[in-house]
Subunit: 202 residues, 2 copies
């Protein structure tokens, strides 16, 4: 079937959100750890991690300021510090539960049952049981005016990972650790490898 | 192990590219179809698709202007039209092959063996054998100054998909079609479902 722009606009709101969001395909499920200036820890699931560059190492996140993730954005702006954490399949329900609208002074670490830890000098909390922890520093907030979202640009400050997961060429084996992938707002997956291919030449 | 910013900067360049790119995790593998003002069709693999919003339906793509994808960016700027296509596991090698640096007048459709088709009125070509085709219109190019990349913001104009893949609530079943996922620059996967979860409440 063909669904055009007019038909998309006429879809029932929740159906459209699920349709367009799931249509965007598979994405890394990311737990973002922050701390408010009052010292409250926050943990929120994102599915918008973007690789922006390797040198310097820069990652992006998309944030809708009116979403449940607004506490995360406010904490990142206030403290410049945040962490990115990937979890295994056995923790996907707890990861999803961080998307609930807890009060601002509730720590999602405690509420959903992840252990809070730190990677000094980063002041934002990490998820201790995660496969990967990445300490980030805010570099820039870029407004996307057409719909009021923002692109959070951050630089990688520190990476905490089991060295056995990093291959001789630098490739990180997330698949063998059953790192969780997301699609849409509520679907979770793990990966099965098809293969790695050589640099393509004409 | 802990790898800090200084150590990342000291890594050998190819190792660092593979490490940081694969560290960014799993992402939708996307074939972007465009046409030059001279009428040459172009097809290039991207792994930076971003969901920006559902109403209006907006997707983003990250582009490094000096990359092999520069023809794609130029065509999008010139014509405002492009398509987004997802392929099945059996086509992952052909999809990867579109990343080779073919001459500007070579059609990657012909070079790698995908069938070119059209979704009028979109002037950019689609991949006929893809599971999903999305006709896009350029809305804005947002520069990310810190490293010279750009965010291509586009609006969804038309979606071509088998209606049996769209559930009653709008969810698109990409997993059952073995739609290809990528990690880093050369690794490909398919997904195995863990489950869909209810809207999270505290």
């Amino acid at each position: 079937m063909i669904i055009d722009k007019n038909k998309i606009e006429q879809l029932e709101q929740r159906y459209r959100t699920t349709f367009i969001n799931s249509l965007a395909g598979f994405r890394q499920a990311v737990l973002v750890g922050t701390k408010s200036t009052e010292g409250h820890s926050n943990l929120a699931i994102f599915n918008s991690l973007i690789h922006l560059g390797a040198n310097p190492a820069l990652f992006g996140l998309i944030n809708r300021p009116d979403s449940v993730q607004r506490d995360t954005l406010q904490n990142i702006i206030s403290t410049k510090a945040y962490t990115i954490n990937y979890v295994r399949a056995d923790a996907y329900k707890k990861a999803h539960q961080t998307s609930a609208r807890y009060d601002k002074d509730v720590s999602e670490f405690e509420a959903v049952g992840f252990e809070e830890a730190y990677l000094p000098p980063c002041t934002a909390p990490i998820v201790k049981e995660a496969v990967v922890n990445i300490a980030m520093q805010l570099e820039e907030i870029i407004p996307i005016k057409i719909n009021g979202t923002v692109l959070i640009v951050g630089s990688v400050q520190q990476i905490h990972i089991d060295e056995q997961l990093v291959g001789n060429d630098g490739f990180v084996s997330l698949s063998e650790q059953q790192v969780v992938i997301s699609q849409g707002l509520d679907a979770y997956f793990v990966s099965s490898p098809l293969g790695r291919l050589a640099y393509a030449k004409p």
